[in-house]
Protein backbone atom coordinates (compact mmCIF):
# COMPACT_ATOMS: atom_id res chain seq x y z
CA UNK A 1 0.00 0.00 0.00
CA UNK A 2 1.45 3.39 -0.93
CA UNK A 3 1.86 6.03 1.77
CA UNK A 4 -0.84 8.29 0.38
CA UNK A 5 -3.19 5.41 0.03
CA UNK A 6 -2.49 4.32 3.57
CA UNK A 7 -3.23 7.74 5.00
CA UNK A 8 -6.45 8.10 3.10
CA UNK A 9 -7.98 4.94 4.52
CA UNK A 10 -8.04 3.41 7.95
CA UNK A 11 -6.36 0.05 8.06
CA UNK A 12 -8.30 -2.85 9.45
CA UNK A 13 -5.89 -4.61 11.76
CA UNK A 14 -3.19 -3.86 14.30
CA UNK A 15 -0.91 -6.08 12.20
CA UNK A 16 -1.31 -3.79 9.20
CA UNK A 17 -0.58 -0.72 11.31
CA UNK A 18 2.54 -2.31 12.76
CA UNK A 19 3.68 -3.32 9.29
CA UNK A 20 3.26 0.30 8.20
CA UNK A 21 5.19 1.51 11.27
CA UNK A 22 7.97 -0.98 10.48
CA UNK A 23 8.25 0.11 6.87
CA UNK A 24 8.22 3.78 7.77
CA UNK A 25 5.04 4.47 5.80
CA UNK A 26 3.29 5.66 8.93
CA UNK A 27 4.23 6.88 12.41
CA UNK A 28 2.24 6.73 15.66
CA UNK A 29 2.07 10.55 15.54
CA UNK A 30 0.61 10.57 12.03
CA UNK A 31 -1.96 7.94 12.87
CA UNK A 32 -2.98 9.67 16.11
CA UNK A 33 -3.34 12.98 14.26
CA UNK A 34 -5.49 11.25 11.66
CA UNK A 35 -7.92 10.20 14.39
CA UNK A 36 -7.94 13.70 15.86
CA UNK A 37 -8.88 15.09 12.46
CA UNK A 38 -11.78 12.60 12.36
CA UNK A 39 -12.87 13.36 15.93
CA UNK A 40 -12.92 17.09 15.23
CA UNK A 41 -15.18 16.58 12.20
CA UNK A 42 -17.45 14.11 13.97
CA UNK A 43 -20.97 14.94 15.15
CA UNK A 44 -21.59 11.57 16.80
CA UNK A 45 -21.13 12.72 20.41
CA UNK A 46 -19.05 9.58 20.95
CA UNK A 47 -16.64 11.09 23.46
CA UNK A 48 -17.31 12.70 26.82
CA UNK A 49 -13.74 13.75 27.60
CA UNK A 50 -10.88 14.13 25.14
CA UNK A 51 -7.21 13.48 25.95
CA UNK A 52 -5.81 15.35 22.98
CA UNK A 53 -2.57 16.78 24.37
CA UNK A 54 -1.78 13.68 26.36
CA UNK A 55 -2.32 11.37 23.39
CA UNK A 56 -0.33 13.53 20.99
CA UNK A 57 2.56 13.59 23.48
CA UNK A 58 2.38 9.83 23.92
CA UNK A 59 2.30 9.31 20.16
CA UNK A 60 5.34 11.59 19.74
CA UNK A 61 7.22 9.56 22.34
CA UNK A 62 6.32 6.31 20.56
CA UNK A 63 7.39 7.80 17.22
CA UNK A 64 10.72 8.77 18.75
CA UNK A 65 11.17 5.42 20.54
CA UNK A 66 10.43 3.50 17.40
CA UNK A 67 13.40 5.12 15.74
CA UNK A 68 15.88 5.50 18.58
CA UNK A 69 15.02 2.67 20.95
CA UNK A 70 13.59 -0.08 18.76
CA UNK A 71 15.61 0.35 15.57
CA UNK A 72 12.52 1.09 13.49
CA UNK A 73 10.78 -2.20 14.32
CA UNK A 74 7.68 -2.33 16.50
CA UNK A 75 8.43 -4.39 19.64
CA UNK A 76 5.42 -6.58 18.95
CA UNK A 77 6.06 -9.13 21.70
CA UNK A 78 6.62 -6.71 24.58
CA UNK A 79 4.19 -4.06 23.32
CA UNK A 80 1.52 -5.73 21.18
CA UNK A 81 -0.55 -2.52 21.07
CA UNK A 82 2.39 -0.22 20.28
CA UNK A 83 1.07 3.12 19.01
CA UNK A 84 -2.55 1.97 18.68
CA UNK A 85 -5.01 4.84 19.32
CA UNK A 86 -7.90 3.64 21.47
CA UNK A 87 -11.00 5.00 23.12
CA UNK A 88 -11.73 4.04 26.72
CA UNK A 89 -15.30 3.69 27.94
CA UNK A 90 -15.90 6.41 30.50
CA UNK A 91 -16.54 3.92 33.27
CA UNK A 92 -12.90 2.82 33.62
CA UNK A 93 -10.85 5.15 35.77
CA UNK A 94 -7.72 6.92 34.56
CA UNK A 95 -5.53 8.78 37.03
CA UNK A 96 -6.04 12.52 36.66
CA UNK A 97 -8.57 12.21 33.82
CA UNK A 98 -12.22 12.96 34.41
CA UNK A 99 -14.33 9.79 34.60
CA UNK A 100 -18.08 10.35 34.63
CA UNK A 101 -19.76 6.97 33.96
CA UNK A 102 -22.11 9.04 31.79
CA UNK A 103 -23.60 10.62 34.91
CA UNK A 104 -24.09 14.16 36.09
CA UNK A 105 -23.35 12.71 39.52
CA UNK A 106 -19.69 12.32 38.53
CA UNK A 107 -19.35 15.21 36.07
CA UNK A 108 -16.45 16.61 38.11
CA UNK A 109 -14.89 13.32 39.24
CA UNK A 110 -11.17 13.05 38.65
CA UNK A 111 -10.03 9.65 39.89
CA UNK A 112 -6.69 9.33 41.68
CA UNK A 113 -5.95 5.91 40.19
CA UNK A 114 -6.10 3.97 36.92
CA UNK A 115 -8.11 0.82 36.24
CA UNK A 116 -5.97 -2.32 35.91
CA UNK A 117 -7.41 -2.94 32.43
CA UNK A 118 -6.25 0.51 31.27
CA UNK A 119 -2.85 0.15 32.94
CA UNK A 120 -2.36 -3.04 30.93
CA UNK A 121 -3.48 -1.46 27.66
CA UNK A 122 -1.15 1.49 28.11
CA UNK A 123 1.75 -0.73 29.17
CA UNK A 124 1.19 -2.64 25.92
CA UNK A 125 1.53 0.60 23.97
CA UNK A 126 -2.07 1.73 23.49
CA UNK A 127 -2.69 5.48 23.24
CA UNK A 128 -5.89 6.68 24.94
CA UNK A 129 -7.62 9.33 22.79
CA UNK A 130 -10.36 9.98 25.31
CA UNK A 131 -13.24 8.70 27.37
CA UNK A 132 -16.21 7.36 25.46
CA UNK A 133 -19.85 8.23 25.96
CA UNK A 134 -22.17 5.62 27.46
CA UNK A 135 -25.52 5.12 29.12
CA UNK A 136 -25.43 6.48 32.65
CA UNK A 137 -23.71 3.94 34.91
CA UNK A 138 -23.90 1.51 31.96
CA UNK A 139 -27.68 1.25 32.32
CA UNK A 140 -29.29 1.16 28.92
CA UNK A 141 -29.52 -0.53 25.54
CA UNK A 142 -29.62 2.52 23.29
CA UNK A 143 -27.18 5.08 24.69
CA UNK A 144 -30.10 7.48 25.12
CA UNK A 145 -29.54 7.54 28.90
CA UNK A 146 -26.28 9.48 28.99
CA UNK A 147 -26.26 12.72 30.96
CA UNK A 148 -23.99 14.00 28.18
CA UNK A 149 -26.52 13.41 25.42
CA UNK A 150 -27.22 10.44 23.16
CA UNK A 151 -24.59 8.92 20.88
CA UNK A 152 -25.44 8.95 17.18
CA UNK A 153 -25.33 5.72 15.18
CA UNK A 154 -22.24 5.61 12.94
CA UNK A 155 -24.10 5.35 9.62
CA UNK A 156 -27.81 6.01 10.29
CA UNK A 157 -28.29 9.28 12.18
CA UNK A 158 -31.90 8.46 13.14
CA UNK A 159 -30.89 5.18 14.82
CA UNK A 160 -29.41 4.29 18.17
CA UNK A 161 -25.92 2.78 18.34
CA UNK A 162 -27.03 0.34 21.05
CA UNK A 163 -25.92 0.53 24.64
CA UNK A 164 -24.56 0.83 27.05
CA UNK A 165 -21.17 0.99 25.25
CA UNK A 166 -22.69 3.08 22.45
CA UNK A 167 -19.84 5.59 22.33
CA UNK A 168 -17.43 2.68 21.87
CA UNK A 169 -19.52 1.13 19.09
CA UNK A 170 -19.87 4.36 17.15
CA UNK A 171 -16.26 5.46 17.72
CA UNK A 172 -14.82 2.26 16.28
CA UNK A 173 -17.25 2.08 13.36
CA UNK A 174 -16.86 5.77 12.48
CA UNK A 175 -13.04 5.73 12.77
CA UNK A 176 -12.92 7.97 15.84
CA UNK A 177 -10.44 5.52 17.38
CA UNK A 178 -8.85 2.33 16.16
CA UNK A 179 -10.33 0.16 18.90
CA UNK A 180 -12.24 0.71 22.11
CA UNK A 181 -13.04 -0.85 25.41
CA UNK A 182 -16.59 -1.63 26.42
CA UNK A 183 -18.18 -3.15 29.46
CA UNK A 184 -20.89 -5.78 29.42
CA UNK A 185 -23.33 -6.52 32.25
CA UNK A 186 -26.24 -7.92 30.22
CA UNK A 187 -25.12 -7.26 26.66
CA UNK A 188 -23.56 -3.80 26.74
CA UNK A 189 -20.59 -4.79 24.55
CA UNK A 190 -22.37 -7.20 22.23
CA UNK A 191 -25.47 -5.13 21.44
CA UNK A 192 -23.68 -1.94 20.33
CA UNK A 193 -21.15 -4.07 18.44
CA UNK A 194 -24.04 -5.69 16.58
CA UNK A 195 -25.89 -2.42 15.93
CA UNK A 196 -22.74 -0.60 14.77
CA UNK A 197 -21.36 -3.44 12.64
CA UNK A 198 -18.20 -4.21 14.57
CA UNK A 199 -16.83 -7.07 16.70
CA UNK A 200 -17.39 -7.14 20.46
CA UNK A 201 -15.96 -9.64 22.93
CA UNK A 202 -17.19 -10.17 26.47
CA UNK A 203 -14.66 -12.46 28.17
CA UNK A 204 -15.55 -15.01 30.84
CA UNK A 205 -16.54 -13.35 34.10
CA UNK A 206 -13.31 -12.99 36.07
CA UNK A 207 -10.95 -12.87 33.09
CA UNK A 208 -10.43 -9.10 33.15
CA UNK A 209 -9.91 -7.28 36.42
CA UNK A 210 -12.73 -4.98 37.45
CA UNK A 211 -10.41 -2.84 39.59
CA UNK A 212 -11.08 0.72 38.52
CA UNK A 213 -14.35 -0.15 36.82
CA UNK A 214 -17.20 1.88 38.31
CA UNK A 215 -19.52 -0.92 39.37
CA UNK A 216 -23.03 -1.48 38.02
CA UNK A 217 -23.72 -5.14 38.92
CA UNK A 218 -20.60 -6.69 40.40
CA UNK A 219 -21.47 -10.34 39.76
CA UNK A 220 -22.03 -9.62 36.05
CA UNK A 221 -19.82 -6.70 34.96
CA UNK A 222 -17.00 -7.58 32.59
CA UNK A 223 -14.66 -5.44 30.47
CA UNK A 224 -13.89 -6.38 26.88
CA UNK A 225 -12.69 -5.02 23.53
CA UNK A 226 -14.70 -3.59 20.63
CA UNK A 227 -12.83 -3.65 17.32
CA UNK A 228 -13.27 -4.03 13.58
CA UNK A 229 -11.85 -7.56 13.46
CA UNK A 230 -11.91 -10.71 15.55
CA UNK A 231 -8.11 -10.94 15.62
CA UNK A 232 -7.80 -7.50 17.20
CA UNK A 233 -10.48 -8.29 19.77
CA UNK A 234 -8.55 -11.45 20.63
CA UNK A 235 -5.31 -9.50 21.01
CA UNK A 236 -6.74 -6.67 23.10
CA UNK A 237 -8.69 -9.05 25.35
CA UNK A 238 -5.53 -11.07 25.88
CA UNK A 239 -3.63 -7.94 26.90
CA UNK A 240 -6.29 -6.98 29.47
CA UNK A 241 -6.93 -10.47 30.87
CA UNK A 242 -5.25 -12.15 33.81
CA UNK A 243 -5.16 -12.24 37.57
CA UNK A 244 -5.09 -9.00 39.52
CA UNK A 245 -4.57 -8.91 43.28
CA UNK A 246 -6.84 -5.85 43.41
CA UNK A 247 -9.88 -7.80 42.17
CA UNK A 248 -10.59 -10.88 44.27
CA UNK A 249 -12.95 -12.17 41.57
CA UNK A 250 -10.27 -12.05 38.87
CA UNK A 251 -9.31 -15.51 37.73
CA UNK A 252 -5.83 -16.94 38.27
CA UNK A 253 -6.19 -19.25 35.27
CA UNK A 254 -3.44 -18.76 32.72
CA UNK A 255 -4.49 -16.70 29.70
CA UNK A 256 -3.88 -18.63 26.49
CA UNK A 257 -2.51 -17.03 23.33
CA UNK A 258 -5.88 -15.92 21.94
CA UNK A 259 -4.25 -13.83 19.24
CA UNK A 260 -2.44 -16.87 17.89
CA UNK A 261 -5.72 -18.79 18.01
CA UNK A 262 -7.28 -16.13 15.77
CA UNK A 263 -4.37 -16.07 13.33
CA UNK A 264 -4.26 -19.87 13.11
CA UNK A 265 -7.99 -20.02 12.41
CA UNK A 266 -7.58 -17.41 9.67
CA UNK A 267 -4.75 -19.29 8.02
CA UNK A 268 -6.67 -22.55 7.89
CA UNK A 269 -10.35 -21.67 8.07
CA UNK A 270 -11.86 -25.03 8.84
CA UNK A 271 -14.70 -25.80 11.22
CA UNK A 272 -13.92 -29.48 11.18
CA UNK A 273 -14.67 -31.02 14.56
CA UNK A 274 -16.51 -27.92 15.75
CA UNK A 275 -20.00 -28.58 17.10
CA UNK A 276 -22.29 -25.57 16.74
CA UNK A 277 -25.24 -25.56 19.12
CA UNK A 278 -28.46 -23.92 17.98
CA UNK A 279 -30.87 -23.27 20.86
CA UNK A 280 -34.48 -23.46 19.81
CA UNK A 281 -35.50 -20.91 22.47
CA UNK A 282 -33.45 -18.23 20.66
CA UNK A 283 -35.36 -18.49 17.42
CA UNK A 284 -38.68 -17.25 18.65
CA UNK A 285 -41.47 -15.31 16.97
CA UNK A 286 -40.74 -11.63 17.00
CA UNK A 287 -37.27 -11.93 15.51
CA UNK A 288 -36.93 -9.71 12.50
CA UNK A 289 -37.04 -12.05 9.44
CA UNK A 290 -33.87 -10.54 8.00
CA UNK A 291 -32.04 -11.13 11.29
CA UNK A 292 -33.24 -14.73 11.37
CA UNK A 293 -32.20 -15.26 7.77
CA UNK A 294 -28.71 -13.84 8.39
CA UNK A 295 -28.15 -16.05 11.42
CA UNK A 296 -29.42 -19.11 9.57
CA UNK A 297 -27.07 -18.30 6.70
CA UNK A 298 -24.17 -18.05 9.16
CA UNK A 299 -25.09 -21.45 10.57
CA UNK A 300 -25.15 -22.89 7.03
CA UNK A 301 -21.73 -21.36 6.45
CA UNK A 302 -20.36 -23.11 9.54
CA UNK A 303 -21.77 -26.33 8.14
CA UNK A 304 -20.09 -25.79 4.80
CA UNK A 305 -16.82 -25.18 6.64
CA UNK A 306 -17.11 -28.61 8.21
CA UNK A 307 -18.92 -27.97 11.50
CA UNK A 308 -21.66 -30.19 12.80
CA UNK A 309 -24.88 -28.43 13.75
CA UNK A 310 -26.48 -29.60 17.00
CA UNK A 311 -29.94 -28.57 18.19
CA UNK A 312 -29.76 -27.67 21.90
CA UNK A 313 -32.25 -26.43 24.47
CA UNK A 314 -31.88 -23.65 27.02
CA UNK A 315 -35.31 -23.97 28.63
CA UNK A 316 -34.97 -21.15 31.16
CA UNK A 317 -34.28 -18.49 28.50
CA UNK A 318 -37.79 -17.14 28.93
CA UNK A 319 -36.85 -16.02 32.44
CA UNK A 320 -33.70 -14.19 31.36
CA UNK A 321 -34.98 -10.62 31.38
CA UNK A 322 -36.99 -11.14 34.58
CA UNK A 323 -34.00 -12.64 36.37
CA UNK A 324 -31.67 -9.94 35.15
CA UNK A 325 -33.96 -7.11 36.19
CA UNK A 326 -33.98 -8.42 39.73
CA UNK A 327 -30.32 -9.34 40.15
CA UNK A 328 -28.66 -6.50 38.23
CA UNK A 329 -30.83 -3.80 39.78
CA UNK A 330 -30.40 -5.21 43.29
CA UNK A 331 -26.64 -5.12 42.93
CA UNK A 332 -26.85 -1.66 41.38
CA UNK A 333 -28.95 -0.25 44.20
CA UNK A 334 -26.28 -1.40 46.61
CA UNK A 335 -23.30 -0.28 44.50
CA UNK A 336 -24.75 3.15 43.81
CA UNK A 337 -25.32 3.84 47.49
CA UNK A 338 -21.72 5.08 47.48
CA UNK A 339 -22.85 8.08 45.43
CA UNK A 340 -23.46 10.13 48.56
CA UNK A 341 -21.73 13.42 47.77
CA UNK A 342 -19.29 13.06 50.67
CA UNK A 343 -16.07 11.61 49.23
CA UNK A 344 -16.44 12.33 45.52
CA UNK A 345 -18.92 13.49 42.94
CA UNK A 346 -21.16 16.49 42.72
CA UNK A 347 -22.53 18.13 45.86
CA UNK A 348 -25.17 20.64 44.81
CA UNK A 349 -25.74 23.82 46.78
CA UNK A 350 -29.15 22.63 48.02
CA UNK A 351 -27.44 19.67 49.69
CA UNK A 352 -25.19 21.89 51.74
CA UNK A 353 -28.32 23.54 53.10
CA UNK A 354 -29.93 20.22 54.08
CA UNK A 355 -31.24 19.91 57.62
CA UNK A 356 -30.65 16.18 58.11
CA UNK A 357 -28.56 13.39 56.52
CA UNK A 358 -31.46 11.85 54.58
CA UNK A 359 -32.26 15.21 53.06
CA UNK A 360 -28.58 15.76 52.24
CA UNK A 361 -28.37 12.44 50.36
CA UNK A 362 -31.63 13.12 48.52
CA UNK A 363 -30.39 16.47 47.25
CA UNK A 364 -27.11 14.91 46.11
CA UNK A 365 -28.83 11.94 44.47
CA UNK A 366 -31.16 14.21 42.52
CA UNK A 367 -28.31 14.13 40.00
CA UNK A 368 -29.16 10.57 38.97
CA UNK A 369 -30.98 10.33 35.65
CA UNK A 370 -34.47 8.77 35.34
CA UNK A 371 -33.35 5.28 34.26
CA UNK A 372 -30.81 5.00 37.06
CA UNK A 373 -33.43 6.08 39.59
CA UNK A 374 -35.86 3.53 38.17
CA UNK A 375 -33.34 0.75 38.65
CA UNK A 376 -32.35 1.87 42.14
CA UNK A 377 -36.03 1.84 43.13
CA UNK A 378 -36.52 -1.62 41.61
CA UNK A 379 -33.40 -2.96 43.30
CA UNK A 380 -34.22 -1.44 46.66
CA UNK A 381 -37.69 -2.96 46.37
CA UNK A 382 -36.33 -6.43 45.45
CA UNK A 383 -34.00 -6.40 48.44
CA UNK A 384 -36.51 -4.98 50.90
CA UNK A 385 -37.90 -6.86 53.84
CA UNK A 386 -40.80 -9.10 52.86
CA UNK A 387 -39.88 -9.24 49.17
CA UNK A 388 -36.32 -10.56 49.30
CA UNK A 389 -37.28 -14.25 49.04
CA UNK A 390 -39.82 -13.77 46.27
CA UNK A 391 -37.53 -11.62 44.17
CA UNK A 392 -33.80 -11.63 44.87
CA UNK A 393 -33.48 -15.17 46.23
CA UNK A 394 -35.78 -16.63 43.60
CA UNK A 395 -33.98 -14.81 40.79
CA UNK A 396 -30.70 -16.26 42.10
CA UNK A 397 -32.22 -19.73 41.92
CA UNK A 398 -33.42 -19.22 38.35
CA UNK A 399 -30.00 -17.84 37.49
CA UNK A 400 -28.47 -21.13 38.64
CA UNK A 401 -30.98 -23.02 36.46
CA UNK A 402 -29.98 -20.89 33.47
CA UNK A 403 -26.37 -21.74 34.12
CA UNK A 404 -27.25 -25.45 34.44
CA UNK A 405 -29.00 -25.18 31.05
CA UNK A 406 -25.73 -24.04 29.48
CA UNK A 407 -23.72 -26.75 31.20
CA UNK A 408 -26.08 -29.40 29.83
CA UNK A 409 -26.01 -27.86 26.34
CA UNK A 410 -22.21 -27.70 26.26
CA UNK A 411 -22.07 -31.48 26.76
CA UNK A 412 -23.19 -31.81 23.15
CA UNK A 413 -21.75 -28.68 21.50
CA UNK A 414 -18.70 -26.40 21.67
CA UNK A 415 -20.22 -23.04 20.79
CA UNK A 416 -23.80 -21.78 20.84
CA UNK A 417 -24.94 -19.36 18.15
CA UNK A 418 -27.95 -17.06 18.03
CA UNK A 419 -28.92 -13.55 17.00
CA UNK A 420 -27.43 -10.83 19.24
CA UNK A 421 -30.77 -9.06 19.35
CA UNK A 422 -34.19 -9.67 17.80
CA UNK A 423 -33.82 -6.57 15.57
CA UNK A 424 -31.23 -4.33 13.98
CA UNK A 425 -30.59 -0.82 15.37
CA UNK A 426 -33.93 0.75 16.22
CA UNK A 427 -34.92 4.41 15.90
CA UNK A 428 -34.02 6.97 18.52
CA UNK A 429 -36.96 7.48 20.83
CA UNK A 430 -38.66 4.29 19.65
CA UNK A 431 -38.30 2.44 22.95
CA UNK A 432 -37.27 5.13 25.39
CA UNK A 433 -40.83 5.65 26.61
CA UNK A 434 -41.31 1.95 27.29
CA UNK A 435 -38.57 0.61 29.58
CA UNK A 436 -39.81 -2.99 29.46
CA UNK A 437 -39.64 -3.04 25.64
CA UNK A 438 -36.12 -1.63 25.90
CA UNK A 439 -35.13 -4.34 28.38
CA UNK A 440 -36.38 -7.08 26.03
CA UNK A 441 -33.77 -5.95 23.48
CA UNK A 442 -31.24 -7.84 25.60
CA UNK A 443 -33.11 -11.14 25.77
CA UNK A 444 -30.42 -13.11 23.91
CA UNK A 445 -27.38 -11.51 25.53
CA UNK A 446 -28.48 -11.70 29.17
CA UNK A 447 -28.26 -15.50 29.66
CA UNK A 448 -24.51 -15.68 28.91
CA UNK A 449 -23.95 -12.81 31.36
CA UNK A 450 -25.99 -14.60 34.00
CA UNK A 451 -23.86 -17.72 33.61
CA UNK A 452 -20.58 -15.76 33.39
CA UNK A 453 -19.81 -17.16 29.93
CA UNK A 454 -17.58 -15.63 27.26
CA UNK A 455 -19.55 -14.37 24.27
CA UNK A 456 -19.03 -12.35 21.11
CA UNK A 457 -20.87 -10.39 18.49
CA UNK A 458 -19.55 -10.68 14.95
CA UNK A 459 -21.10 -8.74 12.06
CA UNK A 460 -22.32 -11.19 9.41
CA UNK A 461 -24.80 -9.29 7.25
CA UNK A 462 -26.74 -6.10 6.65
CA UNK A 463 -30.49 -5.68 6.37
CA UNK A 464 -32.17 -3.95 3.43
CA UNK A 465 -31.67 -0.57 5.09
CA UNK A 466 -27.96 -1.24 5.42
CA UNK A 467 -28.07 -1.84 9.17
CA UNK A 468 -25.67 -4.39 10.56
CA UNK A 469 -26.73 -7.81 11.82
CA UNK A 470 -24.51 -9.45 14.43
CA UNK A 471 -24.05 -13.15 15.05
CA UNK A 472 -23.93 -14.04 18.73
CA UNK A 473 -21.51 -16.75 19.82
CA UNK A 474 -21.37 -18.18 23.35
CA UNK A 475 -18.74 -20.60 24.68
CA UNK A 476 -18.22 -22.46 27.97
CA UNK A 477 -16.46 -20.66 30.81
CA UNK A 478 -12.82 -19.96 30.03
CA UNK A 479 -13.19 -21.40 26.50
CA UNK A 480 -12.20 -18.12 24.81
CA UNK A 481 -10.00 -20.09 22.40
CA UNK A 482 -13.00 -21.99 21.02
CA UNK A 483 -15.05 -18.80 20.95
CA UNK A 484 -12.40 -16.89 19.00
CA UNK A 485 -11.86 -19.74 16.56
CA UNK A 486 -15.59 -19.85 15.81
CA UNK A 487 -15.75 -16.06 15.56
CA UNK A 488 -12.94 -16.03 12.99
CA UNK A 489 -14.83 -18.62 10.95
CA UNK A 490 -18.03 -16.57 11.12
CA UNK A 491 -16.10 -13.48 10.08
CA UNK A 492 -14.38 -15.30 7.23
CA UNK A 493 -17.77 -16.53 6.15
CA UNK A 494 -19.17 -13.02 6.18
CA UNK A 495 -16.36 -11.66 4.05
CA UNK A 496 -16.46 -14.30 1.35
Amino acid sequence: MSPTNFMSTFSKTIREIHDAYDSGQLTPSQLTQRYWDQIQKSKHNAYITLCQERSIAQAAAFTQDLKSKYGGKVPRTQMPLFGIPMGIKDVQTMDGIRTTAGSKMLENYIPPYTATSVIRLEAAGAIALGKLNMDEFAMGSSNENSAFGPVIHPTHADRVPGGSSGGSGTAVAADLCFAATGTDTGGSIRLPASFCGIVGLKPTYGRVSRYGLIAFASSLDQIGPMTKTVEDSALIAQVMAGEDPYDATSSDRPVENWYQTALTAQQAPSAKGLRIGVPKEYFIDGIDPEVRQAVEAAIEKFKSQGASIVPVSLPHTEYAVATYYVIAVSEASSNLSRMDGVRFGVRPKEATEASNPADFYKKVRANFGPEVKRRIILGTFALSSGYYDAYYRRAGQVRRLMRNDFEAAFKTCDVIVSPVSPTTAFKMGEKSKNPLQMYLTDIFTIPASMAGLPAMSVPVARDREGLSIGLHLIAPRFAEETLIRAAVLAETGANS
Partner: protein, 99 residues
Protein backbone atom coordinates in the same frame (compact mmCIF):
# COMPACT_ATOMS: atom_id res chain seq x y z
CA UNK B 1 -46.90 -9.31 43.41
CA UNK B 2 -47.77 -6.25 45.51
CA UNK B 3 -49.84 -3.48 43.97
CA UNK B 4 -47.47 -0.88 42.57
CA UNK B 5 -49.00 2.43 43.59
CA UNK B 6 -47.84 5.89 44.55
CA UNK B 7 -47.45 4.94 48.21
CA UNK B 8 -45.13 2.02 47.38
CA UNK B 9 -42.98 4.09 45.03
CA UNK B 10 -42.74 6.89 47.60
CA UNK B 11 -41.78 4.46 50.35
CA UNK B 12 -39.10 2.66 48.33
CA UNK B 13 -37.72 5.92 46.95
CA UNK B 14 -37.40 7.18 50.51
CA UNK B 15 -35.52 4.01 51.52
CA UNK B 16 -33.18 4.58 48.58
CA UNK B 17 -32.75 8.26 49.49
CA UNK B 18 -34.25 9.46 46.24
CA UNK B 19 -36.43 12.52 45.96
CA UNK B 20 -38.96 12.20 43.15
CA UNK B 21 -41.05 14.78 41.36
CA UNK B 22 -44.79 14.12 41.08
CA UNK B 23 -44.48 13.41 37.37
CA UNK B 24 -41.70 10.90 38.05
CA UNK B 25 -43.82 9.10 40.63
CA UNK B 26 -46.62 8.64 38.09
CA UNK B 27 -44.16 7.40 35.48
CA UNK B 28 -42.54 4.93 37.89
CA UNK B 29 -45.91 3.59 39.06
CA UNK B 30 -46.55 2.65 35.43
CA UNK B 31 -43.11 1.48 34.31
CA UNK B 32 -42.12 -0.32 37.50
CA UNK B 33 -45.59 -1.90 37.56
CA UNK B 34 -45.01 -3.20 34.02
CA UNK B 35 -41.56 -4.49 34.86
CA UNK B 36 -42.69 -6.25 38.05
CA UNK B 37 -45.54 -7.83 36.11
CA UNK B 38 -42.95 -9.26 33.74
CA UNK B 39 -40.71 -10.27 36.66
CA UNK B 40 -43.67 -12.06 38.20
CA UNK B 41 -43.21 -14.91 35.72
CA UNK B 42 -40.33 -16.06 37.95
CA UNK B 43 -43.02 -17.49 40.20
CA UNK B 44 -43.76 -20.14 37.56
CA UNK B 45 -40.18 -21.52 37.64
CA UNK B 46 -39.56 -24.69 39.62
CA UNK B 47 -36.81 -23.76 42.05
CA UNK B 48 -37.27 -26.13 44.98
CA UNK B 49 -33.92 -27.19 46.38
CA UNK B 50 -31.92 -24.97 43.98
CA UNK B 51 -29.10 -23.06 45.64
CA UNK B 52 -29.27 -19.40 44.54
CA UNK B 53 -26.38 -18.25 42.35
CA UNK B 54 -25.28 -15.03 43.97
CA UNK B 55 -21.69 -14.70 42.80
CA UNK B 56 -20.14 -14.63 39.37
CA UNK B 57 -17.36 -17.02 40.36
CA UNK B 58 -17.23 -20.44 41.96
CA UNK B 59 -15.41 -21.30 45.12
CA UNK B 60 -13.86 -18.99 47.63
CA UNK B 61 -12.28 -15.70 46.75
CA UNK B 62 -8.57 -15.28 47.20
CA UNK B 63 -7.27 -12.94 49.85
CA UNK B 64 -4.15 -10.87 49.60
CA UNK B 65 -1.74 -10.24 52.46
CA UNK B 66 -2.97 -7.71 54.98
CA UNK B 67 -0.34 -5.12 54.16
CA UNK B 68 -0.64 -1.38 54.50
CA UNK B 69 -0.01 0.27 51.15
CA UNK B 70 0.16 4.04 51.38
CA UNK B 71 -2.14 5.84 48.98
CA UNK B 72 -0.34 7.95 46.37
CA UNK B 73 0.18 11.57 47.37
CA UNK B 74 0.15 14.80 45.38
CA UNK B 75 2.90 17.44 45.15
CA UNK B 76 1.97 18.80 48.58
CA UNK B 77 2.25 15.35 50.12
CA UNK B 78 -1.53 15.06 50.59
CA UNK B 79 -3.32 11.84 49.67
CA UNK B 80 -4.51 12.10 46.07
CA UNK B 81 -7.79 10.47 47.01
CA UNK B 82 -8.79 13.72 48.73
CA UNK B 83 -8.60 15.65 45.46
CA UNK B 84 -11.97 14.31 44.40
CA UNK B 85 -13.72 15.34 47.61
CA UNK B 86 -16.44 17.99 47.19
CA UNK B 87 -15.13 19.82 50.28
CA UNK B 88 -12.02 19.28 52.39
CA UNK B 89 -11.08 20.73 55.76
CA UNK B 90 -7.99 19.88 57.84
CA UNK B 91 -7.19 16.96 55.50
CA UNK B 92 -10.61 15.43 56.12
CA UNK B 93 -13.92 15.34 54.27
CA UNK B 94 -16.02 18.32 55.16
CA UNK B 95 -19.78 17.75 55.46
CA UNK B 96 -22.51 20.18 56.42
CA UNK B 97 -23.55 20.37 60.03
CA UNK B 98 -26.70 18.31 60.35
CA UNK B 99 -27.29 18.21 64.09
Amino acid sequence: MPEVNEALIRKVADLARLELKESEIQEYVKSIGDILKHVDQLSSATVEGVEPMIHGVDGTLRLRPDEIIAFPTDEQGKPKVMQSAPEVMYDGYKVPQIL
